[in-house]
């Protein structure tokens, strides 16, 4: 399934959680040689409505989540 992290589309297995999406996002950031945001702990993630989502939350197709890369 496809989900979007900070508007970057990533492909994930069905049943993936927010944590899986972040793992994949950071792996692809490193692969592209972009600047890593540093710490992975304490990241606060939001959905497209501005609600917080817990990292163990389930994702569905085309869902969009956001976090502040500076956190």
């Amino acid at each position: 399934m496809k989900v979007f992290v900070n508007d970057t589309g990533i492909d994930l297995f069905e049943g993936a959680t927010v944590r899986d999406a972040l793992n994949k996002y950071f792996a692809s950031v490193l692969k592209r040689g972009e600047k890593d945001s540093g710490s992975r702990t304490g990241i606060i993630v939001y959905d497209q409505h501005g609600n917080r989502v817990m990292t163990d939350g389930s994702l569905s197709e085309d869902e969009r989540i956001y976090f502040d890369p500076g956190t």
Binding site: M1, D11, L12, F13, E14, G15, A16, T17, V18, R19, D20, A21, N23, K24, F26, A27, S28, L30, K31, D47, H49, N51, R52, V53, M54, D56, G57, S58, L59, S60, E63
Partner: protein, 478 residues
Amino acid sequence: MNVNIYRKIILLLVAGIFIFSGCDERETRVVIFHTNDSHSQLDHFPALAWLVNNEREKEEHVFLVSAGDIFSGNPMVDYYDPKGYPKIDLMNRAGYNVNTLGNHEFDYGLEVLADRMEQADFPFILANLNTAGSSLAQPDAFAILRAGRHRIAFLGLVQLNSQGIPSAHPDNMTGIEFFPPVETAGEYEYLTARADAVIGLTHHGFVSDTIMASRYPWFDVIIGGHSHTLTLEPEEYNGVLVTQAGSNMQYIGKVTLVFRGRELVEKSAVMIRTSGIEGADPEIAALVEMYNDNPALNRVIGRLAEPLKNKDELGIFITETYRKYGNFDFAFQNYGGIRVNSMKGDVRVRDIFRMDPFGNELVGMDLSYPELKRLIGNSLSSRNTPSVQIAGGTIEVHLAADRTVSDVKIFDLSGLELAAERKYSVAMPSYMASAFDFEREDQGTGMGIITAAVLIEHIEKNPDIGITYSTRSRIVQN
């Protein structure tokens, strides 16, 4: 005398007209506390019970409801004997009024689920299923709770994955037919005639809740679950108040309904941070302490004839178990996910969670040989050794004269190199499926079971544990 009788009759008539014309201006407040995705969490029950009891002393109509996924996520509950018992016991004592069946309610299997439903003093509801072909009794689609003269309807709905079932192991739902949740909700508009407020008590994620709100404005409130969304400031969508309280009982939602006469005139929702609740129920706290000291975790489930001396050998045991679990061609485990360095003698439930503590799900996917090569190629350490263990074959990493990797080859159990044109079924933990970035067509599907549970299940069936050791990866200097 006659004048008095006439007066009384006239007064009764006026009162009757007043009531039936809806002009009764009496106000009724109904408070609904809610949790979702509590996932076998126990530690917050003392605070929750204190909060709810405190409110019940102040308010006449107080409910406590759950939007599903009460099980799976805490070995103290998931491996209690019988499974899940402590959770229901504490929910009974906290005074839950209703729970929607979430996808993880199926994790223990139908027989255990039926036992837990029997144990519960509150109903489990779900509208979008038919259990006629299974051993599970058909749950009610909805529950109607009475708040004085008011009736509040709660409609249960659960998410479905692309296979048309909730995200849990398919074997745990054999014989049950499921229906799309949002479409199913449309069949229950008649509840508006049977209740003064209709609440969706859903377990299909926040996005689906907003879709449901846009289609069916006759819902007054939707209390959701599954996406672990924390609506710190719940909002209305198409006039429907949509709320969800994160996960693991870190927050407790509170919805307040105000009726004037029969009409719902006000609805609001807030989130309460559990760690900020100033009291705790002492009796429930004592029970939580007792349940957290779960002897089932010390239960011996198997015995190693020979010790597993290092992560290489532990990885062989783990990957061979994954492979057998789904009859996969290959299975992989990243060494970083193995958190002990050895294991010997008696193996207890606790030992498996110590070795595999992350709660990763087992993920299955079909990969071609080039995709498998990319998986291994992208996982090489700085010394060009694979950072994963393999079952079902062996790996060769070929180095050029300058020590750079020139090729990766994989061989099956008969020693033949894999065929470029066919797909191979592969299992791996969800961490690898997400954090190991390798280009592939099939992203995979979660198997609905955590890897630790796969290992425990296997050991319980095969208590004499042993591995046939062989070197499964080597470096070839060309």
